[in-house]
Amino acid sequence: MILQQAFNGLALGMAYALIAVGYSLVFGILRLVNFSHGSVYAFGAHMVILFVSYHFGLAPAIILGVVLTGLLGILIDKMALSPLRKKNSPGISSLITTIGISYIIQNLLMMAFGSEKKTFPELFPSKMITIAGAQVSSMQIVMFIASVILLLVLTLLVKFTKIGLAMRSVEQSEKIASLMGINTNFIIAFTFFLGGASAAIASILISGYYQIVYPTMGFVVGLKAFAAAVLGGIGLFHGSIVGGLVIGVAEAIAASLFGSAYRDSVAFIILILVLVIRPAGLFGKKGIEKV
């Protein structure tokens, strides 16, 4: 029972971690909490079912879905956030704007697809595997592996490539980066593309597991993933993964000890505790502002 719940919690946590990576990515580069991420996540899954319904086949639908969702990320930046940056608006305006965008996307999805819950195609026939008496679905294992790969790819990209170097320099100072000959507009657009694409990958894996898609699907998980990102230290990919797993397992423990009714508040109780004890998150270092 405990082991079973631990596995359930890990699988749940993996879902949070996948989404949390997207929050961290945009925050890490732009110091912006992108609250439209949950809706972008829902957009990704809807694009896939749209293409599947037009008989594109599952694999092309997934690729198109990921690319289009990435482009949506760029569009959000160009339409709403970039003008704010140009006017040197305070960070809070960008944050509120992303909340607004989140609602716009959600409602557009409702207009286009209706608000009812739709089925998402099974990515592959899932089987139950028994490990030490606990049942795990093969899809859960795939989710786990996929998020580790996503984490590795993003870390390598940011740490060891030229474009990653440019991203890190934009993070430190957009102005100086542009003086050094970096095309900052391109770098920011690229970051949003990655954020959108990672949201789409997360939504495809998670929807493939639950096989359910609807416009507000990103709301609850989005909030918990945000909690996970902050918990691990926002801006750090490995922090997001650990944060997601901690929250998933904590929910599982809370559900089995106190009942499902307490499950959903646990994520936020942990978040508050961590922020009180370690304001920068589990792995976060105290920020040194270089002037």
Binding site: A15, E116, K117, V220
Partner: protein, 381 residues
Amino acid sequence: MKKIVSLFLVLVVSISLLSGCASTKESSQDGPLKIAVAFPMTGDNAEYGKSFLLAAQIKVDEWNENGGVLGREVELVSYDDKNSGDEAASIAQKIVSDPEIIGVLGHFASGVSMVAAPTYNENKYIEISNTASHPDYSSIGDYIFRNNSVISSEFGVIEDVLVNDLKLSKVGVVAIKTDWGTTAGDIAADIFGNNPSLTLVGREDVLEGSDDYSLAIAKLKEAGAEAVIGVGMYSLLAPLAKQYKAVDPEIQVIGLSNAYAQQLIELGGEAAEGIIFPVSFYADSTDPAVRKFVDTYTEEFGSEPSALAAQAYDSIGILLEAVKQNGSTDRESLRDTLNAISYPGITGETQFDEIGDASKEYTKLVVKDGKFIRFSDVSGK
């Protein structure tokens, strides 16, 4: 100067109050007779609102083809409450300020209906809800009616299914965490807990929209549940069945009448097979009145009507029949007529009791081979 201004303001306020009174008393006798329809038309539950509006419109069209009621055309006025209490409160104010409106069909969630109901009751506007199943809803006032089953009677049917048809004893309850869900969950726990031949092995409350019920399922499975009752819409029941059957293929999943929607089968797929639930309306019935509604509805909407949509259709029918029998739109006598009426609708003979609840006859349905069929056809009873 200040005095003059304040005097002027007092004058304005009192005139507007008086004019408000005047307009509520006088209603024109030749314009269309209006019925308000207040449901979520946007947001998470928009599909329900749209389907109820269509069902109501079909009934209104039938009446208008036969010359309307009391020689007046009938017209629906649609409001969008977004399934939110705040919106419903302001919509209720809007509705009661329109003297042409004789009654309201709505709102969707019990909690939302209960926010708006006192306003309707105070202003003597009849409210009929085709969806609210919260036990306290209809006792809010004399003008508040419910054309839906009270939740406890549905659990009575489920109790019968468990004890007599399936002979299962260990029952788990999974309820959604809303005002309605927790109340219904409590009632279920109470009914099953007090039945000597049933054992309630667990009661889990889940957040709708989290889509992961594995934690609750693992607990119920550990407790040895043989049947699980999903207190929620199809959106709870389909994933619950899917996730439960993945770990325990033997589990018997049971739902409530509001799970009766085509999406249950679409979302649940294989896992939806064998789900049993009680309904007051069955779209596959051979009754010509049912067929006529189902065909018109299906042509417009693209899928078969749910029991709740059929209740929306009947609710409008009852209200118009009451206006016809009453012979006028006088609110007080209309209320009495409505209370005394016995209406043969497609969801059975409907009659409101003294607090405004309609009693419902149930058919047990089961999902078999991707279709809803009568449970009695399967079990041979």
